[in-house]
């Protein structure tokens, strides 16, 4: 009499077992660290150049996002918010005028600094410099900030190599991404101090999958770009189908070059909740995992 209910229990448990094999949440391995704080009082007599530290008055917070496994492709800034910021006296630092008392967060290292580390394991984020939080109370010792970041994560980047001619109309594909040289501009003799050749590259397809493009001569020598090679393509990650990138060659490159293109095959969206504390003294963050090597293939 007891054997039938036991069988039913085993059958009922099967789907549960299948559920437990679901993929782990990639957001769980991402750590959010307090990276910096600025507290700025009001400028003297509202004079713009009398702003302490040349900043808008209020509280500015910065975070480091550190990933052990996933590669940080970018931040979806329209889905990333500070939802609660209070000091230890109970004062809320979010602006009352915010319709739902939330504050957008933005990449903390806009031009000229990239926001993602070269190994794509660390990202700097923060309150926008033009939209700081309110000042903490005079008696405050610490601030607690709560919210969530929405990130684009990848497992790996693949490198493909393409022998191309640097002329208008040259086109090649990497999976469902198409690259086309839209414009080639040679610098005028008087303008040759820094740049010899400008290339406007049109990207079509899921452009968020593109990470970076570097150019080499056929002997394998890296061709230097003005302002450095753009190692990190995605400061703001959001799905777009078309984009133009610019490459400024310091020295005139050969007509035929090898373009090494790094892309990822799939991006996962992950919501990373956080609750972080900021005080005058901040705790150091841990080191991330070592840099991965990109798998290489191509049509060289």
């Amino acid at each position: 009499m007891l054997r039938r209910p036991a069988l039913i229990l085993i059958i009922a448990a099967l789907p549960l077992g299948a559920c437990s094999k679901a993929e782990p949440n990639p957001a769980e391995e991402i750590r959010v660290r307090s990276a910096g704080i600025k507290v700025i009082t009001q400028a003297y007599q509202q004079e713009s150049r009398m702003r302490p530290l040349l900043e808008k008055d209020g509280t500015h917070l910065a975070f480091f996002l550190v990933s052990e496994q996933s590669l940080l492709v970018g931040l979806h800034d329209e889905k990333s918010w500070l939802t609660r910021v209070v000091d230890d006296t109970g004062k809320s630092l979010l602006h009352e005028g915010d319709p739902d008392r939330r504050t957008r967060v933005e990449p903390g290292g806009l031009f000229p600094e990239p926001v993602v580390s070269q190994n794509s394991r660390i990202m700097a984020l923060g309150t926008h410099f033009s939209a700081p939080l309110l000042l903490p109370a005079r008696q405050a010792n610490w601030i607690e900030a709560e919210g969530y970041f929405t990130l684009g994560l990848a497992e790996k980047f693949d490198e493909t190599r393409h022998k191309i001619t640097l002329k208008e109309g040259t086109s090649f594909r990497v999976d469902d991404l198409r690259f086309t040289i839209k414009e080639r501009t040679t610098a005028e003799p008087g303008q040759r101090e820094y740049v010899s050749l400008y290339i406007t590259m049109l990207l079509e397809g899921p452009v968020e999958k593109f990470r970076r493009m570097r150019f080499f001569n056929e002997e394998g020598g890296l061709l230097e770009l003005y302002g450095g090679n753009r190692d990190v393509a995605h400061m703001n990650w959001a799905e777009k189908n078309q984009r133009e990138d610019y490459y400024a060659f310091e020295k005139m490159p050969p007509e035929t070059v090898i373009a090494r293109v790094e892309t990822c095959s799939e991006i996962k969206e992950a919501r990373v909740p956080f609750k972080n504390r900021f005080s005058l003294g901040l705790k150091e963050a841990r080191d991330p995992a070592p840099q991965p090597t990109a798998a290489s293939s191509g049509s060289e």
């Binding site: 910096g36 009001q42 480091f64 903390g108 580390s117 410099f129 005079r138 003294g281 150091e284 963050a285």
Partner: protein, 285 residues
């Protein structure tokens, strides 16, 4: 027991007063904390990723505001102004003694238009200990001060060789250049100064109604941020403005008739909650 209690209470009150965030007053001057930045380096020592734009690695930057009710501040004398000690309440010393000139202020101080306030920034200091709740800063600021400012207008032909004098300073136009920048032409007037250069403050061209022409950043440039600093060595300067000046041109010149040196020692405390930076109103203690 009462005597012992008093002995304990009085030093405790003195200590509390010293660690409360706030100003240090020296005669006519009040020195206040005006803001701070504390930042950590990215994990793994990545120098590409930083907490804030325009700042690298770990460190502390402090904003210091000097306000005067009675005197006008011409500017700072940078070589003899120093932060001499910075410690947090865990005892950690934040002054980086390995720097070339430890405790030197950041090179771009600002003086307010009304010359009543001077805003300074420290160079990057070490970050405080993780447990720190306060930072105490000690130092001295050497400033040029005046009791009054001379502001006069001069009608001059806008041409090479035009010259005028004020407070012992002689201005002579060296060169006039015009640049088309729609919708208005930009005029750049280069001039040479002779006399005690530290007395200069500002030079603006006016329209026929006495209103300054659009000088862009020049209007903001109350030139003596660095009193006895690098600018004083340069007897050649220029001013640029948009629009057409009247004939003869009207130039408004601010100079210091008499300057004195004043050293302002200070001892101020920073906490997370800072006092509002505002000028004292008359009668306010």
């Amino acid at each position: 027991m009462k005597a012992i209690a008093k002995c304990l209470i009085i030093p405790a009150c003195v200590w509390l007063a010293s660690v409360m965030p706030g100003a240090s007053e020296t005669g006519d001057f009040e020195v206040r904390p005006a803001g701070f930045e504390v930042r950590l380096a990215a994990p793994g020592g990545s120098d590409r990723v930083n907490a804030f734009v325009n700042s690298r690695g770990a460190g502390t930057v402090l904003g210091i505001l000097v306000v005067s009710q009675d005197r006008l501040i011409a500017g700072i004398e940078p070589e003899n102004s120093r932060i001499t000690k910075v410690t947090d309440d865990t005892g950690k010393e934040l002054l980086d003694t390995e720097e070339n000139k430890p405790g030197k202020f950041w090179g771009f101080p600002h003086v307010s238009k009304d010359a009543r306030a001077l805003l300074l920034m420290s160079n990057t200091l070490l970050p405080p200990a993780p447990e720190a709740r306060q930072i105490q800063v000690e130092g001295h600021i050497l400033v040029g001060v005046a009791e009054k400012l001379t502001e006069e207008t001069h009608e001059i032909p806008l041409e090479k060789g035009s010259s005028w004098s004020q407070d012992g300073l002689t201005y002579t136009i060296q060169k006039i250049e015009h640049e088309r920048d729609q919708p208005k032409t930009v005029t750049r007037v280069s001039y040479r100064l002779e006399g005690p250069l530290e007395k200069r403050r500002q030079l603006l061209f006016l329209d026929q109604t006495g209103v300054p022409l659009d000088h862009g950043h020049n209007a903001e440039d109350v030139s003596h941020y660095l009193w006895k600093g690098s600018r004083d060595d340069d007897a050649e300067d220029f001013v640029s403005f948009r629009g057409t000046p009247p004939e003869p041109a009207i130039v408004q010149v601010q100079t210091w008739p008499s300057l004195q040196e004043r050293e302002i020692p200070f001892l101020i405390n920073y906490r997370l909650g800072l006092p509002e930076a505002r000028p004292k109103t008359s009668g306010e203690e």
